[in-house]
């Protein structure tokens, strides 16, 4: 047998393997929904609390028809994307300012540790009072959750840049800004991207908690109001929407990651 045929065989084997995995993944999904439907249908699980796939699907159709779902979805998505971008950007900027002065970094160190250890959602009521019961509070909530951890992770990436790279720049008499642009930033791209991925999750936490508190619009608000009137169909519908959106957002960040890593040749 020639190598060409062997290679074809190898590829076919790989294709079959990945198809098999996909098949099992879909099967598992169907089984979960089937289990959910059957147990609630036969009242093994209380349908009042656990809803059921069919009830959620029905609600989805009604809500799409009377256009009362998408404004909330859109609102939450916007808040999350803005919070996510600003949180990461702000974290990067703070990390840059820490990097540019060793003294500032040393002075700020214990404050960062305290801020990082503190559960940011505890600030919720304060944020609500300061920024008012509106979209701004929700975004600030999202930023506050992701910004400190971004700062810490990105700053430590800046510090871990191989010191011989810095020596090369020093020997060319490069300024701090030049060193940052040519060496420190590109060397830290993989870390910055990995914080992006973490921040997708964190921003969703911030936005949903923010909407719980502000309670006027968005998927977080739908969950709270569904809970208050004991309409768990609505709670589950919102949950499923959140899961789908968060996954899409994560996949988008993964695409950006692939593009950037290729661009900077990692």
């Amino acid at each position: 047998m020639d190598t060409e045929t062997l290679h074809e065989q190898f590829k076919r084997k790989r294709r079959l393997e990945s198809r098999k995995i996909l098949l099992f993944q879909l099967l598992l999904l169907v089984l979960i929904f089937l289990f959910w439907q059957i147990t609630t249908h036969y009242r093994i699980l209380d349908p009042l609390i656990f809803s059921s796939p069919l009830a959620v699907a029905k609600l989805l159709v009604t809500k799409v028809m009377d256009a009362t779902l998408f404004p909330h979805v859109w609102f939450t998505l916007m808040e999350t994307v803005i919070g996510f971008l600003l949180g990461t950007l702000l974290g990067t900027l703070i990390a840059i300012s820490l990097w540019s002065s060793i003294t500032v970094a040393k002075v700020m160190d214990p404050y960062l540790v305290v801020l990082n250890a503190m559960p940011k959602v505890a600030l919720g009521p304060m944020i609500l009072v300061i920024f008012g019961p509106n979209v701004l509070s929700v975004i600030v909530m999202a930023i506050s959750i992701s910004v400190i951890v971004s700062t810490i992770v990105i700053f430590s990436a800046f510090q871990q840049v191989n010191e011989n790279y810095l020596k090369v720049m020093q020997l060319f008499n490069a300024s701090k800004a030049q060193t940052f642009k040519h060496v420190v930033l590109p060397a830290s791209i993989p870390t910055i991207i990995s914080t992006l991925k973490v921040n997708v999750g964190l921003s969703w936490v911030g936005v949903i908690v923010g909407e719980f508190l502000v309670s006027s619009k968005g998927l977080g608000y739908l969950i709270i109001s569904g809970f208050q009137i004991f309409n768990f169909n609505l709670v589950f519908l919102s949950l499923i929407m959140i899961v789908i959106l968060a996954t899409i957002m994560y996949k988008c960040v993964e695409m950006i990651e692939r593009f950037l890593l290729k661009k900077f040749n990692f």
């Binding site: 020093q170 060319f172 040749n265």
Partner: protein, 251 residues
């Protein structure tokens, strides 16, 4: 006055518990176009001395004076430290970009001369170790330094690339008539490449002895120098000197 005069350099490293004397009573001078080597055991302060000459570290005491009002220093490290996110071309032009100098033909000419023009658009990890070290030399030469500091630039290479690159660096430096200081712990390399060899002692690092390499060896490229009849005797002399000072295992 010589091209560079190094006078009574002394350097200490401090930490919370103690201090170490890295260098003591270092004095020597280099003439323009000369190639000198420092050999000695690892950790004897040779690299520290290079950093001091390069102006990266301020010595505890002592002065370095040079003839020219200012000297541009090129530094070649043990590994190439080319930036993986820049192409070969961008890596070589980096120094010029930072100094805001017009790169013009410099990069292209260097690549042509090094017979590596085909690598201009490639990235460092696509090249072999020897080629990368050549590119690192091109990056150093691009800014046209008057003094070159070579900190064990061949130690991370396999034997074949090492011999190959020794010839290449030696010829290139002669062609550009550069003054150079090489740090190494390979006695053969020091003899084959330099005009003068300084032998260092360990902790604190001082110059124990200096050896002037005879013209017969100096006029040959490093590879041929290793086979010259005058090579073995001087190798033996330096070897014995090192053993006498308790560093039998320096190579």
């Amino acid at each position: 006055m010589a091209f560079i005069d190094v006078c009574n350099i002394q350097h200490h490293f401090f930490n919370d518990h103690s201090y170490t004397t890295a260098l003591k009573d270092i004095s020597f001078s280099i003439n323009e176009g000369e190639f000198i080597s420092f050999i000695g055991p690892s950790g004897c302060g040779k690299s520290t001395l290079l950093s001091i000459i390069a102006g990266l570290i301020e010595p505890t005491s002592g002065v370095i004076t040079h003839e020219a009002p200012s000297i541009d220093i090129g530094y070649m490290l043990q590994q190439d430290f080319l930036f993986p996110w820049k192409t070969i071309e961008e890596n070589i032009s980096l120094g010029l970009t930072i100094l805001n100098k017009d790169e013009g033909q410099i990069v292209e000419d260097l690549l042509k001369q090094f017979r590596l023009s085909h690598t201009a658009k490639l990235y460092p990890q696509q090249l072999s170790g020897g080629m990368r070290q050549r590119i690192a030399l091109a990056r150093t030469l691009a800014v046209n330094p008057t003094l070159l500091l070579l900190d064990e630039p061949f130690s991370a290479l396999d034997f074949h690339s090492k011999l190959d690159l020794e010839n290449f660096v030696s010829e290139t430096l002669k062609q550009f008539s550069k003054t150079a200081i090489l740090v190494t712990h390979d006695i053969g390399e020091a003899i084959a490449m330099s005009d003068k060899v300084y032998l260092f002692s360990n902790r604190p690092g001082t110059i124990l002895k200096s050896f002037t390499i005879p013209d017969e060896i100096r006029n040959l490229v490093p590879f041929d120098a290793r086979n010259a009849p005058e090579y073995q005797p001087i190798f033996q002399t330096i070897w014995k000197e090192l053993e006498a000072n308790g560093y039998g295992n320096v190579t």
